[in-house]
């Protein structure tokens, strides 16, 4: 018999790491015709750090994103960065890029002010490649011309350096007192699934979720993380392990025929709501969504399985074997009734 189940979980997730100090550096410089190169040592694993840093730099410089290119990671040109992990990339490197871009912008505005014979404080960028006097758009100069004049007439470099460091916070031996993180991302998630009490098979039929990400710096990249991350959460909950009978080391998979993950035909509908409560110290308020998105799925599935058949699976993954053993131990399926 097929039983319906519904389960809930909610989580928060720390952004950044606390270990020995957590720095990132960035450099920005302009080409002679007013395009901007950003050099870093961040790693793009697919999360899109190149793309996000490009947008952060463009926004901070006040120029179009098409005029910015991010070059990473070459240790000869990109300054030091701890790496891409601990949901630190957007936060740490984003802040470093903002600073590097701020310095480059400062120089750019000074260069433009020289040419327009006004104070730099009276100038603004239009985000389309022009710099003009506030309230008087006709008194303007292009970023391209500014860069050319800066380089060939003023002898000024439109470049910037940025470092963002979260210093190490010692951990107290007796109480665990520490300052571990900068901010938290949040998620709450409801899973609907079915459990077959004859085979023990669990099929996730629908996911509803709310993810709070600070600010979606690029909404499509955030959606990539949330959809892909929730898929991974389902996979972790129901399929994946390198040691199926942990702590026994036997039966370890060595290929994808034995290391199981859901395929393209196994993805449930996922209805996502994105909340944005900007974090004060984060770049434009954005928190890293990439790691936390999988976390609530695991317990929500476990809770839904209990709701469906009354079996608590406190050991992952929730395999048909464990579900069936649980049902047998209970003397049959014990549906708990639809919550809410």
């Amino acid at each position: 018999m097929i039983h319906q189940g519904r389960g809930f979980a909610c989580i928060n997730y720390p952004i950044g790491m606390n270990l020995g100090g957590d720095p990132s550096q960035a450099l920005v410089h302009s080409t002679p015709d007013g395009k901007f190169m950003v050099t870093l040592s961040s790693i793009d694993l697919g999360q899109g750090v190149k793309s996000v840093m490009r947008q952060v730099a463009a926004e901070s410089l006040g120029v179009p994103v098409s005029d910015v290119y991010v070059d990473t990671a070459d240790s000869d040109t990109g300054p030091h960065d701890m790496g891409s992990f601990a949901s630190r990339g957007t936060h740490r490197m984003g802040n470093a890029v903002i600073r590097a871009a701020a310095e480059a912008r400062f120089q750019m505005m000074e260069a433009a002010a020289d040419e327009l014979e006004v104070n730099a404080s009276d100038l603004m960028t239009d985000g389309k490649g022009n710099i003009h006097v506030k309230g008087s758009p006709s008194r303007s100069i292009t970023v391209q011309e500014t860069a050319q004049l800066a380089q060939f007439r003023q002898g000024r470099t439109l470049s910037g350096r940025g470092i963002f460091l979260v210093p190490y916070s010692p951990v107290d031996a007796e109480t665990g007192e520490m300052t571990p993180v900068s901010s938290f991302a949040h998620a709450a998630l409801i899973v609907d699934l079915t459990v077959d009490d004859e085979t023990g098979e669990v099929e996730v039929t629908q996911i509803n979720s709310a993810y709070e990400v600070g600010r979606a710096l690029n909404p499509r990249l955030v959606e990539q993380q949330l959809i892909g991350g929730a898929w991974m959460g389902v996979s972790h909950a129901l399929y994946e392990t390198t040691e199926p009978y942990y702590p026994d080391r036997a039966h370890g998979p060595e290929d994808f025929n034995h290391y199981l993950m859901p395929g393209p035909g196994d993805t449930p509908p996922h209805h996502i709501s994105i909340l944005e409560r900007p974090a004060p110290d984060a770049p434009f308020g954005g928190k890293g969504p990439g790691e936390m998105c999988a976390n609530p799925v695991l317990p929500a599935i476990a809770n839904a399985v209990y709701n469906a058949v009354g079996v608590r699976c406190d050991t992952l993954p929730i395999t048909p074997e464990k579900v069936l053993r649980g049902i047998r131990d209970n003397g049959g399926a014990r549906p708990q009734g639809r919550p809410g």
Binding site: G46, I227, G229, M232, G263, P264
Partner: protein, 167 residues
């Protein structure tokens, strides 16, 4: 066994152009495409035939190049993602993957595109189920698959020759 093995000449068509090379006995097509011919678009993901990142098309059929003996493609038409765009014009599938944010790390993308192209070449109007079936041998660890399925369906609905952007 020995370092001085007898190499076999193999000639085939790679993305419309003649390709000729000498291969070691037992060499697989993936290795030959990448090392001998410099086509780096098919990727090594497992070497076991279980992940699909090395997928290429041989005479119109999607094939795992890591399990294909290079000698067996003599005289065949081999297509890879490196040849998918026509000059500056992207294939509709490529444009749909861009617009649909259907790639993250991008490592599975060339193999996905080959499986998808093989499907659309033989079935220009596939159903969702047919798309799912066509890429079920291609693993993706990043996207959760759905954006890829969507992109392939979008490409199927696009005009045959995409205006595309310059490569």
């Amino acid at each position: 066994m020995a370092t001085t093995t007898t190499k076999t000449p193999v000639t085939f068509t790679l993305n419309g152009a003649e390709a000729a090379t000498f291969v070691d006995p037992g060499a697989n097509l993936l290795e030959v495409l990448r090392r001998n011919l410099g086509d780096l678009s098919p990727k090594y993901g497992c070497g076991q035939g279980t992940c699909g990142t090395c997928t290429v098309m041989i005479n119109g059929q999607p094939r795992l190049s890591c399990l294909t003996l290079a000698e067996t493609v003599e005289g065949s038409h081999v297509e890879t993602t490196a040849g998918l765009a026509h000059g500056p014009d992207l294939h509709a599938l490529q444009q749909a993957f861009i617009d649909g944010f259907a790639a993250q790390c991008g490592f599975c993308t060339p193999g996905m595109l080959m499986s998808a192209k093989a499907l659309l070449d033989r079935n220009p109007n596939p159903t969702r189920e047919e798309v799912v079936d066509a890429i079920s041998g291609n693993l993706c660890r990043c996207t959760g698959y759905e954006p890829i399925v969507e992109a392939i369906l979008t490409a199927a609905r696009a005009p045959r020759r995409s205006a595309g952007r310059s490569v």
